[in-house]
């Protein structure tokens, strides 16, 4: 019988109350300094992890708690793989890029997802791919090895495609509503890359190679629009991203993508909040985990800004909250 995730989704419905409400974001944004923001945060779900004002430790523990929920509640291993392999890909990027560019000291990594860091380190020298390494990762490693010019940009390009492919391999099959969220995210990424390529004066073929599969718009279509200066028109015509047309136009004109990033995240958060996710299936659990990831990432930005005494108006240019 197909997994219904009934217990998981019931639990997630109750856990969603722990997400910070808009009012709390307003209060955090209005906090005078990082101490006041910390006091506000101590009264929320994060309070249980906040010891001695160590925010980084708090967020690390919070992320671990959410992942623990994911692993305990998920009735489908594909969901756990889809979520946790994203961090493995990031770790692989740090380790492989550093090793291949002759970085002398051990590189800083994130907590391992499902693949131990030693496996990622030894993958570069192993003649046979380790069994823990997913096929897509082994293929990307082969691609990196076969690169004629081993530049950081070329490695990044392969790893970007790997990150997209790993995500699109496991997650979209879960539910159409969640698949449209992932496709929108991929479109946003592709439009951003294409706009930057245009500003860098790259030709159509070169920019198409940097674009990722998995969005509603094909890379060739986006690259064509970029070369003809029609990116804002194309994004205005893309489902869910209609409002980004003028934002992308301004971003290209001002050569600043801050507003584009913020508006994109606002759209994606909106899709997660109001998207018609099925009650039966893994999508609500996946959406909850991703919402928490966004929340933690935004809190990190907010607290860093408060510590640097950044003005509220400048902070609001980056954060899609409040």
């Amino acid at each position: 019988m197909k997994s219904l995730f009934l217990f998981a989704n019931g639990r997630v419905s109750a856990l969603e109350k722990d997400l910070l409400p808009p009012r709390m974001w307003q209060m955090l944004l209005s906090a005078r300094d990082v101490e006041e923001a910390g006091r506000l945060l101590a009264d929320t779900w994060y309070g249980r992890f906040l010891q001695g004002g160590n925010f980084e430790n708090c967020f690390e523990q919070a992320a671990q708690a959410i992942e623990q929920e994911l692993m305990e509640l998920s009735e489908d291993p594909a969901l756990v793989r889809g979520i946790l392999h994203r961090r493995d890909v990031r770790n692989a990027r740090y380790i492989w890029k550093a090793a291949l560019s002759g970085h002398p000291s051990p590189v800083e990594t994130e907590r391992p997802g499902l693949i131990p860091l030693d496996v990622l380190r030894s993958a570069l020298t192993d003649s046979e791919p380790a069994p823990e390494l997913p096929a897509l990762m082994s293929r990307s490693l082969e691609e990196i090895r076969s690169l004629q010019e081993l530049s950081p940009a070329a490695i990044d390009s392969v790893m970007d495609r790997l990150a997209a492919a790993m995500e699109m391999e496991e997650l979209p099959g879960m539910y159409p509503g969640f698949a449209s969220f992932l496709a929108a995210r991929m479109d946003i990424l592709n439009f951003g890359i294409a706009a930057r390529c245009r500003l860098a004066g790259m030709d159509r073929t070169a920019s198409e190679q940097l674009l990722l599969e998995g969005g509603t718009r094909k890379p060739a279509e986006i690259a064509q629009a970029a070369s003809s200066g029609a990116l804002p028109a194309l994004i205005s015509d893309t489902v869910e991203l209609e409002s980004l047309g003028s934002v992308l136009r301004d971003a290209i004109a001002e050569k600043s993508f801050l507003e584009y990033s913020r508006e994109s995240e606002r759209i994606l958060l909106g899709m997660l909040d109001t998207g018609a996710f099925a009650v039966f299936g893994p999508a609500p659990l996946a959406a909850f985990v991703i919402k928490k990831e966004y929340e933690i990432s935004h809190l990190r930005i907010l607290l860093a800004a408060k510590a640097a005494r950044l003005e509220r108006s400048r902070l609001l240019r980056r954060l899609p909250r409040g």
Partner: protein, 148 residues
Amino acid sequence: MNELIAYSGVVLAAALSGIGSAIGVGLVGRAAAGVLSVDPKKFGKLLLLVALPGTQGIYGFVIAFLLLGRIQGADMAADPSFVWKAFLAGCPVAFTGLLSAIHQAKVGVSGVALAAKQPADAAKGLILAVFVEFYAILGFLVSFLMLP
């Protein structure tokens, strides 16, 4: 043979609506258990949503019980159509009970999520689930009116 056909009505009424209720209560129960694992104070709000798909089984049981009484006191030789009347009388409550309990459970699971996220709207989820109940009641009434 005639008796077997008549008793089939009893079996259908009790079994199918009972199966529907068991599935339905199971579905909503699992979702409610998920909410209660975080917020045990919601038990009162969720209890009705869990119990609601169970009513179809009761309707089926009542019709089966009444039908059984009629069959046991009937003179089937005098009325040859009795066996089919008895069989068909069990069908409406059986099929509406089976299907409505499962669909009511689906509404109930959504209601559980609603009650967890927006406790003030918990009653709305319950009302929506009650709409499905209406068709189980119609099936029950038709079966009752068809009793031979």
